[in-house]
């Protein structure tokens, strides 16, 4: 298949592996698809993301890209850039995810430049991307300090897109934003998916977000996949008791819609 698949990922921490973060996690996401990775904090969502990004190596298990095993955590030299083009991330906290010393346009430009564009082309691409995510010239020229949370998150998305990634992980990427800003960002992401065929991995505990933007959902609980399937099915007819608890714990719209 064309896309990314993880098989039986295990990750333990501590000298004797006493803390189990991932306990055999398997799922896949198609090119251009959108997968929701749901679970409470500590369920292993972020560890999975860090492994896919090559920031951490799993204790065992494998990652496949287009059906071929590959090790993002091993990538060096040219492979490092290839890995970066496979998958990018937008973090939850827009206040910490941008280098405070870099102007927004420089952050985006340097990423594009790293991936083979000339300085002039990279500059042009950065302007296009920033325009696309709705940041004007004035915001682009300033450092993150001068921007709001929503603007920073747009900048982080533009920076991730600068390398033309096939997949984008959104690690609670809208959780820190106002509801109205959340909706704008989610619309932007849906637009990107349609226009550029970028695949998405939404790491979140916000089920409304999952419903709005994903077609498939994986529910993680203590490092294990407890439920996996089309988002509609997982949210409307959960099979696992943990998923039901998770749904019941959400106040308001979602559960009410179902009843």
């Amino acid at each position: 298949m064309s896309g990314i698949e993880v098989r039986e990922l295990r990750k333990t921490f501590g000298h004797r592996g006493e803390v189990v973060a991932l306990d055999g996690v398997s799922f896949s996401v198609e090119q251009g698809g959108a997968l929701g990775l749901i679970g409470e904090s500590g369920s292993g969502k972020s560890t999975t993301a860090r492994i896919l990004l090559g920031l951490e190596r799993p204790t065992s298990g494998e990652v496949l890209r287009d059906g071929v095993p590959y090790e993002p955590w091993r990538a060096s030299g040219r492979q490092r850039l290839e890995r970066a083009r496979s998958i990018q991330i937008v973090f939850q906290d827009p206040y910490l995810s941008l280098n405070p010393r870099l102007r927004i346009v420089d952050a985006v430009r340097s990423a594009a430049e790293l991936h083979g564009l000339t300085r002039a082309d990279a500059e042009r691409r950065a302007r296009e991307l920033l325009d696309e995510v709705g940041l004007g010239i004035r915001e682009s020229q300033s450092t993150p300090r001068a921007l709001s949370g929503g603007q920073r998150q747009r900048a982080a998305i533009a920076r991730a897109l600068a390398v033309r990634p096939r997949f984008l992980i959104l690690d609670e990427a809208v959780a820190a934003l106002d509801v109205s800003v959340q909706a704008q960002i989610l619309n932007l992401l849906n637009e990107l998916r349609r226009a550029e065929g970028v695949g998405f991995l939404f790491i979140t505990h916000n089920l409304a977000v999952v419903r709005y933007v994903t077609d498939e959902a994986v529910v993680l609980h203590r490092g294990c996949v407890v439920e996996l399937g089309p988002t509609e099915r997982v949210l409307s007819a959960p099979e696992h008791p943990y998923t039901r608890d998770l749904l019941a714990a959400v106040p308001g719209s979602i559960t009410r819609e179902e009843s």
Binding site: G54, L55, I89, N99, H115, A160
Partner: protein, 288 residues
């Protein structure tokens, strides 16, 4: 001695309001600038030859025969000796601080960035050096290379490097965990580039203010070594040497011979501390 525990490096309690602090900072910069001008311009500006002995005019009071600060036990002009002495007295700590900072930042950054056994080894070495009093380390290098100008400065540099390495390690560890570092690595930037171009510029200003502060401590330690006869050798003018030579004058009641270098040392050290702490406070303000 440089404070062994870098946790002591908190923002100094604010004394006085903003404008008085500002005045203090400007005065401190003025004192340091004056000392530097004295050192560089000594050959042109000094009214007398700093080595010219005049046995008919020993321990002369300030103002006698054009000797603005008087003369010492050998009848040498104190002001001229202070000015010439500024050269070794300032250059020594400067070399010590530059070497200590270079060494400390390189080791601390390497330990923090690499982690694993690299960090283990470097951290053990740092701890070992910490258990070593700074002056003792300097005395060892003097024993190895002989007294003079350079050996004590290198000894002090080695003694100060661990504090700088440890602070560097701490701040880079904190910085390394920030999300923008992970984001830049995920974008495909090489680790060494992320370390030198992003992490260090963000983390190191606080280390540099420790470097500035340690300049003052190094000046005192090196003056102490000269005073003990292990550093710059008499008759070369050096503030520490001058203190050493002033003891006999002191016994004869000529207190100004000792007071002159002592006051100059105190003024310069206090000024450097004020500047270092102001830089530290400014950094903290930016972070807030």
């Amino acid at each position: 001695m440089i404070p062994a525990d870098t946790r002591l490096l908190r923002v100094p309690r604010r004394v006085g309001d903003r404008s008085t602090r500002r005045v203090g900072f400007v005065l401190a910069c003025g004192v340091v600038a004056l000392a530097v001008v004295m050192a560089i311009g000594a050959p042109l500006l000094a009214p007398f030859d700093p080595l010219a002995v005049n046995l008919r005019l020993i321990n002369a009071a300030p103002g006698t025969d054009g000797h603005l600060l008087g003369t010492d036990a050998s009848g040498r002009d104190i002001l001229s000796r202070l000015m010439h002495g500024a050269q070794t007295s300032l250059l020594g700590p400067l070399i010590a601080v530059l070497v200590a900072s270079g060494l400390g930042i390189a080791l601390g950054a390497l330990a923090a960035w690499q982690g694993g056994w690299t960090d283990q080894v470097i951290s053990r070495v740092i701890e070992f050096l910490f258990s070593f009093p700074g002056l003792l380390a300097a005395v060892f290098t003097v024993a190895l290379f002989g007294p003079g100008f350079l050996a004590p400065a290198i000894g002090i540099a080695i003694a100060y490097a661990p504090a700088i390495a440890r602070l560097t390690r701490t701040v880079i560890l904190q910085e390394r965990d920030k999300l923008y570092v992970k984001a830049e690595l995920a974008l495909g930037f090489r680790g060494i580039r992320v370390l030198t171009r992003s992490v260090m510029p963000n983390a190191l200003p606080i280390v540099l203010s420790l470097s500035v502060l340690s300049f003052g401590y190094a000046l005192i330690d090196l003056a102490a070594l000269s005073y003990l006869g292990l550093g710059v050798q008499a008759p070369q003018p050096d503030w520490g040497v001058m203190l050493n030579e002033s003891t006999s004058s002191m016994l004869q009641g000529a207190w100004w011979v000792m007071a002159a270098p002592a006051i100059v040392i105190i003024l310069v050290v206090v000024s450097v501390n004020i500047i270092g702490e102001a830089l530290l406070a400014r950094r903290q303000e930016v972070l807030r």
